[in-house]
Symmetry: C2
Subunit: 319 residues, 2 copies
Amino acid sequence: MRIVVLAGGIGGARFLRGLKQAAPEADITVIGNTGDDIHLFGLKVCPDLDTVMYTLGGGINEEQGWGRTDESFRVKEELAAYGVGPEWFGLGDRDFATHIVRTQMLSAGYPLSAVTEALCTRWNPGVRLLPMSDDRVETHVAITSDDGERKVIHFQEYWVKLRASVAAEAIVPVGADQAKPAPGVLEAIAEADVIVFPPSNPVVSVGTILAVPGIREAIAEAGVPVVGLSPIVGNAPVRGMADKVLAAIGVPATAAAVAAHYGSGLLDGWLVDTVDAGAVGEVEAAGIRCRAVPLLMTDTDATAEMARQALALAGEVRA
Amino acid sequence: MRIVVLAGGIGGARFLRGLKQAAPEADITVIGNTGDDIHLFGLKVCPDLDTVMYTLGGGINEEQGWGRTDESFRVKEELAAYGVGPEWFGLGDRDFATHIVRTQMLSAGYPLSAVTEALCTRWNPGVRLLPMSDDRVETHVAITSDDGERKVIHFQEYWVKLRASVAAEAIVPVGADQAKPAPGVLEAIAEADVIVFPPSNPVVSVGTILAVPGIREAIAEAGVPVVGLSPIVGNAPVRGMADKVLAAIGVPATAAAVAAHYGSGLLDGWLVDTVDAGAVGEVEAAGIRCRAVPLLMTDTDATAEMARQALALAGEVRA
């Protein structure tokens, strides 16, 4: 079975770990969000790709969900001693090595997809990890600062520095309209048996991937089940601050509203949490098959069960 | 008193620490060798500038003479885990931060001299540290490998990886002929009261600086005492492997031969170690005032005394 998963960072990575357990024989291709990518200290940092790679490769910091296990921060401390920031982005020493290798390869002319493949030869994530695009896409957020000034900031500044503490007025994946899907992305979609939207952020993770021209169309035309798992449980994000960016695009933070945002033209099946069982009728009325099952990724077993439910739903909508 | 010192790495840096103690009121400008510079992991590394900066700024690893004190090597370990080398060059985590800041500033368009000044605002070395040139100069070494193949390698590969274990057949400061002295270099020389060649490597440190067109001429024409300290004591280098690179240019590893190599057209005074007192006559016969004094930099006090002797010799040749 060939499964394509559109993934952001922590939520996507943890779901993938469950999916691998649920479908050990499956051939899984992950299309990773790169809209969160940022240049820090002259280095190219790809937080979502790395979170998937580290999580599936056994190198992740389990507690925080991102960054390396057994990490230290000596380089960052020294950079701060030079007065060089930003200090709000947590790059550890072991993590730095990844960005140094990536930046060196990019400077040598390799596209991000080739660099990601090279990094994965170390981590053996057990999936094929593709960036959504080799072209630079950078998600920006329009906000109004405390002093009333409207400004546009990098997504990481909004998410990590400001912790989404002010309203996001607009979310713009800068460069997405000119970006091309990375090599292998459209092919993987065309050859997929199932396409899954994990409980990643529907705006700045899955939404950004879908903003790359050709990807949404390829999914809609693939002719295979497309199923998703709600990142909203009980009208709040399971983790992260997805409600803030949903508000920016006028989508209520409910499981049903996110399904409707993806739409029946794209989505065939949708899993909501049992606490949102009341939303099943609304989602189905919108033309999307819906089931209510436990959606908290408390451990890998629970997550694997979620993945099994998603694949079962895919089987159902195929029938 | 304005003193200009042409410095390489460890020897130059340690001498400078003694000079600062011997002449606390002096205005010292250091013209640093950049021929040892190397790009590693996509980062610009300037070993000699950093050794001077760390030594005078209190950040040096005293035992080894280069690199940072209290250093760790986690980034390097991770790079090795990615299969990315070279492993023979010891870049520590704290040291990496320096190269990251430097590379980021160079990429932003700042010349190396401005970058060095910026780095020094943290280290406060108590001297004005100038790279010899903002242009790229890279010292290469011609060798014949074990299998009989002639090849040309980077100086660091010869020095650090091979530990000068094979004969250097030629030393070429690639790019030096096209390089221009960095801003401030010729001005500092023109305004100097004394110019000092510390016991740095006469070929790949001081020699490389002198290979930048304009610097040798400016020193010869400055009309002020130029005094040097022999890096060769008892027919062997005090540290390092200077004899190997002296052989490449046909200069015997003796205190007198190094003085003759600089020549009376450049050098007014020369200090040899007391064990080489027998060479004083030969040096003076070549037109260079010479004194035999203890030249082992065993501690800062001993080094300060060497500096005082050098300044005294300068006063003598001026008179």
